[in-house]
Symmetry: C2
Subunit: 394 residues, 2 copies
Amino acid sequence: MAAFQFCPCAQQVHQPKLLLPPSLAPTRASTKIPMFTPHNNLLSAKFSGKPIPAKFNGSHLKSQIRACANPDSKGSKEEGLRIGIVGFGNFGQFMAKALIRQGHSVLATSRSDYSQYCEKHGIEYYSKMEEMCEQQPDVVLVCTSILSAENILRSIPVHKLKPDTIFADVLSVKQFPKNLFLEILPPEFGIICTHPMFGPESGKNGWSGLPFVYDNVRIAQGTEQEKSCAKFLSIFENEGCRMVEMSCEEHDRHAAGSQFITHTIGRILSHLDLESTPINTRGYETLLQLTENTVSDSFDLYYGLFMYNVNATEQIENLDRAFETVKQKLFGRLHDILRKQIIERVPHQGVPSIRDTTKTPYFLPKREEMRDLSSFAMPPQKEELPQKTEVLGR
Amino acid sequence: MAAFQFCPCAQQVHQPKLLLPPSLAPTRASTKIPMFTPHNNLLSAKFSGKPIPAKFNGSHLKSQIRACANPDSKGSKEEGLRIGIVGFGNFGQFMAKALIRQGHSVLATSRSDYSQYCEKHGIEYYSKMEEMCEQQPDVVLVCTSILSAENILRSIPVHKLKPDTIFADVLSVKQFPKNLFLEILPPEFGIICTHPMFGPESGKNGWSGLPFVYDNVRIAQGTEQEKSCAKFLSIFENEGCRMVEMSCEEHDRHAAGSQFITHTIGRILSHLDLESTPINTRGYETLLQLTENTVSDSFDLYYGLFMYNVNATEQIENLDRAFETVKQKLFGRLHDILRKQIIERVPHQGVPSIRDTTKTPYFLPKREEMRDLSSFAMPPQKEELPQKTEVLGR
């Protein structure tokens, strides 16, 4: 672990950034140190006496995944992986079903007790993290919530695991677990960051065509680790997922502009207490469905998408501006029309002149109807020349 | 027309409400006049020497619609209606196709020239409103925009039409055309306010199961007008619509909470310039579709939904509050955590203590990465007792 103190990836996760006023924060210029990008550094640095493996060769990996996905083409049945799931809630269970379908062995540990569920589904359950690690699974699959990931990962006794263990995660943000893995895992451990862009609800009728994002952050090429990585990814290929290889950074940019916006709209709508009406349009039906799906996820997930994605705040600001623009367009137009009537005294089509009001007091609408502004919506016609009328109240 | 000056329905459309300060507006209490609801008054008042027909008997109408929809059950083929469409844009043409499919004759007039389109589709086109009225159609179907409806309706030479002409409309708001019809049409004219809750896009694959809202505002019972009304409504029944009889007021309440909200979300999203990503979730795909459908409608339609529905402002306010609530929940939680760090000096899990910052300046992230707040997202753990640290900068 000591060697990692010099890894910029590791350090960049936990700078107490907001605690330092800008004037006090050391700048790159003042330190006169050449800039390393985390990856450059990872590619060249040496840890524990052996070279840190380069980032996986994409095309090589893809052929390996395909070979694993179609074992017949190699003429032999591949042996299943032993996959230890950390965090066995709704999503962990959802993953486990596919892993078992694809012929792998599943181990699980979680803060809550899922021993009965596991017994029923042929899964080895360990109430203590340590006990699961002693079983030395090939892959540790992190299925915790975003918010609890750090505490749980820091509690894993990594020394009990095999030296070539692969850590994978399925969190809905990616830069955060990548940097966390790089910081806390021994350098020999493999790292694959993934995000299945679906869940128990949207994937309940199969995963065919649904996007599965992955980034092979650190896999030792030409080793058993590489084979295990290919086997692991072939699970999702076999289930029909659309495999999308993408860096964690790119994922987070895309996800803030799509998934986070979608969750935000769903959260906003959930506060409107929308109800089905006898006259739902199709568009409204999709909003009702979206709201239902959003609130079926926890607020903690939504908070995680916001808090652990550097691009989310910008998206909230964009949404804010967009709403303001729409309101300004609506109320600005109304204001223009009213101002013309009040200041320039241009009567509106169909609106009785102010002198006429004496004829109509008996028929003034109820208080509720006073809010009908429809008579102000049409711009004054050219034929209607501005005419002087008396000021209000005279 | 003179008789209509005493109809509260008519008067209530065009009160210059906002021009009168509340202190000057006559109240019901001060006028000591018993309150008439528009309908009560319409049911009892007499115009032009003959009784104003009561609101249509719902069950009687429904059996008539069914008889028209299934002419075989009556043993004879019904004669088609002559339907004059006023405003022959996108929606008017969309309506015309169904009218022709159902064996009716279509006439059309519009501000733009659609003579070629009409010639091709077997529709009589009249460039002048007056000429179309001289043809004395059975039904005048108003397919104008909401914003132009009033000007166009006031320009119709109603004296050229048959005395039992039926006026129908398909505007997306209903109280406004109802009151306008009641104000400007002769009392013998029939009035049906309708809203097909679909359009050329959502109804392109047929209208089966799509809601069609109607309110028979004024139809003379036991007359040819009643038969024509049933024939007209059977068009939509035959096309497979789900027929929803509903008052104009109820329609506008439901539509503000559903259709207007949907359009507003679509308009807001259109200002975000959303793009398809390689990792779209299904929820995001529905938002992209919603945005595309919304902007394919004109801003004038959206403005009409806002301006001519008394319930729309309240919905904008609700949406505003809902968005504020979501932002408060996100930023409030963030604030709580930061405040704990800054004021109570509770160090956060994984964040180096302030004294440690001297070790890490070389690895301070790039400006972009400074926005990563992920290290501040976890609430401090109970095990981590608050500890005094030095003030910033010391």
